[in-house]
Symmetry: C2
Subunit: 395 residues, 2 copies
C-alpha cells in the first residue's frame, strides 16, 4: 500500500513537471493538446493544471475567437511575468545579465562591453551582481525568482560552478558560482555551465536544433568550444569535461600552435587568430568586429581575405566531417563568431563532408545558430529553470 | 482507477525486467542484495522472484554453508541451462556461432576459419545456419531459445539487420538478418549489429568497461571500427550510423589512402595494412597472424617492426587523444587486432595523450579488451537477450 502511494505521488510529480516543461518549451497549448501529448485523459490534465495554476506557475483561459464549431479548449500559458530567473553570460568581450520569464522570454537585460585584459573575478562578479540586483528590483512586486544560472567561457566543474580553466580569461580554479551567489545576496545558488554546452542546449530546445535528437554545436569565441547533444542529452563524459571539440587535432604535422600547448587543434586552425593571421591582419586586431571585417573584405573580393576564409573553411570542414562520422548528428550548428565565418566558407565545409563523411551519415543539416548572440544566455536561463521544471510543487 | 492499474502493471513489468537483468549481468545474488539494489522491500522481491521462477527464468536456493549467524538469504540464479540464445559473429577471417545461456555463459560453440575472398551472403548464411541448427539440436530438450543475435563486420541498418556497406566483405545492401532467420528455420528474427558497437556493449556489461558510464572501444579488424558508450548507452546518432571513428581524418596532408576513398583516416594510419606496409612486409601477407608476427619481431628487436609500431602508435595516440577530448571517457578499450598492437605502442599513445588531451580529461584508463575474441559474440548474445530482459513475462 505504501508503495502504491509512493508510486502515485512520483507519477504525479513527473506529470506536473512534464506539463510545465511542455508549455515552458513549446509555448501556450490547449488542454486537449496537452492531454494528447502526455497520453492522459482530460480530467487528469485538469487536475494537474489546477495545481499549477494555484501555484501561479501557469494561467488558463478560453480563447476569445474560434472559427470552429464546438467549445474551444482552454489554453494553458506559462506565467512569464510572474515566474522568472536571472541569467548571466560571461564572454571574453562582454558581460550580459537578463531576467528571463517562464516560457523562455527575455524580459529585461543589461550589457557591459569589455576590453579583454584584466578581467579578474572580483570585477566580473561585481558588474554582474549589480546588473542582477537591478534586474531583480525592476521585476513586478508579485514576481518570483525561481533560480539563477550563468554561462561562462571556460571549463566549469559541473558540481559547484568552479571555473576550472579559462585560458582566454586567465582564470584558474576560481569559485565563480559561489562568489556571484554571495554578491547577489538573493539567497539563491548560481548554477554555472560552459558557454558552448549551454549554447547547444538552448539551440536544441529553442533554436536550430529543435526536432533533432543528435546535434553538434560549435561555438567560436577567442577559442572554439562545443556542445554535443547525444540522444537528446548533453554529452558530458565521465567527469563533465566532454565536448572539447576545439582541441581535436586535425593537423599534427606542421599545424598552428594552440593555446592549449598542442599543435594543429581545430581551434588553432579555425579560430579568430588563424583567420586574422591568414588574412594578413596585424596582431593588434582582435575580436568579433575584426572577424567581421575579414568576412566583409572577402565579400568585396579582397584576395587575402578570400584565401584566409577558404583555408579556414577547409580545416573547419575536416573537423566537422570528423564530428559527423562520430556522432551522425541531424544538424551541425555554428555559433558565436562562427556564425559570421561559416556562411563565407560553406562551400569548403561541404566539399570536405562530401569527401570524408561516409555516405550513410551525409544527411545532415548545416546552419548558423538561430538564437544568435543569445544562445548561451538562453542556455543559462534553462539551467536556472531546471530545478523548478524537475519539481514544480515540492512537498 | 484504470490509470492506477496500468501504472502498477507497468511498474511490475519494469521491476521484473530490472531483477532479471541484475542476475543476468551481475550473476547470482541474494534476495536481500536484490532488495537493496532495487530499493524494494523483501516481500515485493519475493513476489517478483516467484513469478520469474515459475516461468523458468531463474532458480532460487538456500546456500548450503554459512559462516555467519542467522538464516542465510535465498540466492537467485539465472537459469543458464534452460534459457539460451544463439549468437553469431561474422568477421572477415572467421565465422563463429554459439549457444549462450542466460547469465551470459557461452555453453557451446562452432567456429569456421575462412579465406578472405569470395565470402558471399549465401555461403556465410549457409555455414551459420548449419552451425545454429546443430547448436539448437544439442541443447537440452527442456531448454528454450529466447532469441537470435548476430555481429557483423560492416555497417548495419539498425531497423532490419540489412548490411548497408561492408567494404572488407564486398557486401552492399544485403538482407543478412532475414536470410539467416529464414535459413535457421526457428521462427525467430535475427537481430544484427555492427561488430564494434556490440563489442563496446559487451565490454561495458561484462568486460573492461564495467563500472564506467562512458567508454570508447576501438575494434581493429581489416579496418578499424568503434563503439562508444555515452552515459551508459551506445551512441548511435540520428540514423544509427554514429561511432565511425575509423574514418576520422587525422592526417589530411599527405596521409595514406583509405578504403573509404578519403586520405589520412585513423583506419588508414593504424589499420592492418598500414602496420604491415610500414614494417616492410609484402602485400601478399595479411590477417591477424601477420600482425602478430610484426609485434613479435618488434619484441625481438627488429628495427623495421619497431619503427612501424612507433609510427602506428603515434597516429593511434592522436586518434585516441581526440576521442578523449570529445568523450571524456573513463576507459578506452582496444579490441580485435588492436589487442595485439596497443601493448607494443602504449608509450606513443600515452605520450600523445599527455600532449594533446586537456588536463581535466587525462584521468582515463587504457586497456585491451577483457573479453578478447569473444567481445563481439557476447555483444550479439546481449542483443538476442534484450527482448526477454525488457519484458520477461509478456501478458
Amino acid at each position: 500500500m505504501a508503495m502504491s502511494r509512493n508510486v502515485s505521488e512520483a507519477v504525479r510529480q513527473r506529470n506536473l513537471g512534464t506539463l510545465l516543461r511542455l508549455v515552458h518549451v513549446g509555448g501556450p497549448a490547449s488542454r486537449s493538446t496537452l492531454a494528447r501529448r502526455m497520453g492522459l485523459n482530460r480530467s487528469t490534465i485538469m487536475a494537474l493544471t489546477g495545481e499549477l495554476t494555484s501555484a501561479g506557475l501557469i494561467s488558463e483561459d478560453r480563447p476569445h475567437v474560434s472559427g470552429r464549431a464546438g467549445r474551444p479548449s482552454i489554453v494553458v500559458r506559462p506565467s512569464c511575468d510572474r515566474v522568472y530567473v536571472l541569467a548571466f553570460d560571461v564572454a571574453v568581450d562582454r558581460l550580459v545579465a537578463a531576467r528571463v520569464g517562464l516560457g523562455g522570454i527575455v524580459l529585461d537585460r543589461r550589457v557591459a562591453v569589455r576590453r579583454r585584459a584584466g578581467a579578474d573575478l572580483d570585477d566580473v562578479v561585481s558588474v554582474l551582481a549589480s546588473f542582477g540586483r537591478s534586474l531583480h528590483a525592476a521585476a513586478p512586486a508579485d514576481a518570483v525568482c525561481a533560480g539563477v544560472g550563468a554561462s561562462y567561457c571556460g571549463m566549469v566543474r559541473p558540481d559547484d560552478g568552479m571555473v576550472h580553466f579559462a585560458p582566454d580569461m586567465g582564470w584558474v580554479d576560481q569559485a565563480f558560482g559561489t562568489s556571484l551567489s554571495d554578491a547577489l545576496g538573493l539567497g539563491l545558488p548560481v548554477v554555472v555551465g560552459n558557454e558552448a554546452h549551454l549554447g547547444a542546449r538552448a539551440e536544441h530546445l529553442r533554436g536550430a536544433g529543435v526536432g533533432f535528437k543528435n546535434l553538434v554545436y560549435l561555438h567560436g569565441d577567442v577559442g572554439v568550444g562545443g556542445g554535443i547533444i547525444v540522444d537528446g542529452r548533453l554529452l558530458d563524459g565521465e567527469a563533465g569535461y566532454g565536448c572539447e571539440l576545439g582541441h581535436i587535432v586535425l593537423n599534427p604535422v606542421g599545424g598552428r600552435a594552440c593555446n592549449c600547448g598542442s599543435h594543429g587543434c581545430l581551434e588553432a586552425e579555425v579560430g579568430e587568430r588563424a583567420l586574422l593571421d591568414l588574412a594578413g591582419r596585424p596582431s593588434s586586431l582582435y575580436g568579433r568586429s575584426a572577424v567581421r571585417s575579414v568576412v566583409d573584405a572577402a565579400a568585396s573580393g579582397e584576395d587575402a581575405a578570400c584565401r584566409a576564409l577558404r583555408e579556414v573553411g577547409d580545416w573547419l570542414g575536416i573537423g566537422v566531417a570528423n564530428l559527423i562520422n562520430l556522432f551522425n548528428p541531424g544538424v551541425v550548428i555554428f555559433g558565436g563568431m562562427l556564425r559570421d565565418v561559416y556562411p563565407s566558407c560553406a562551400e569548403q565545409v561541404q566539399a570536405r563532408i562530401a569527401n570524408n563523411v561516409l555516405a550513410v551519415s551525409r544527411e545532415v543539416r548545416l546552419c548558423v545558430s538561430a538564437l544568435g548572440d543569445d544562445a548561451c544566455l538562453v542556455g543559462a536561463s534553462e539551467l536556472a529553470f531546471a530545478g523548478l521544471i524537475a519539481n514544480p510543487l515540492p512537498r
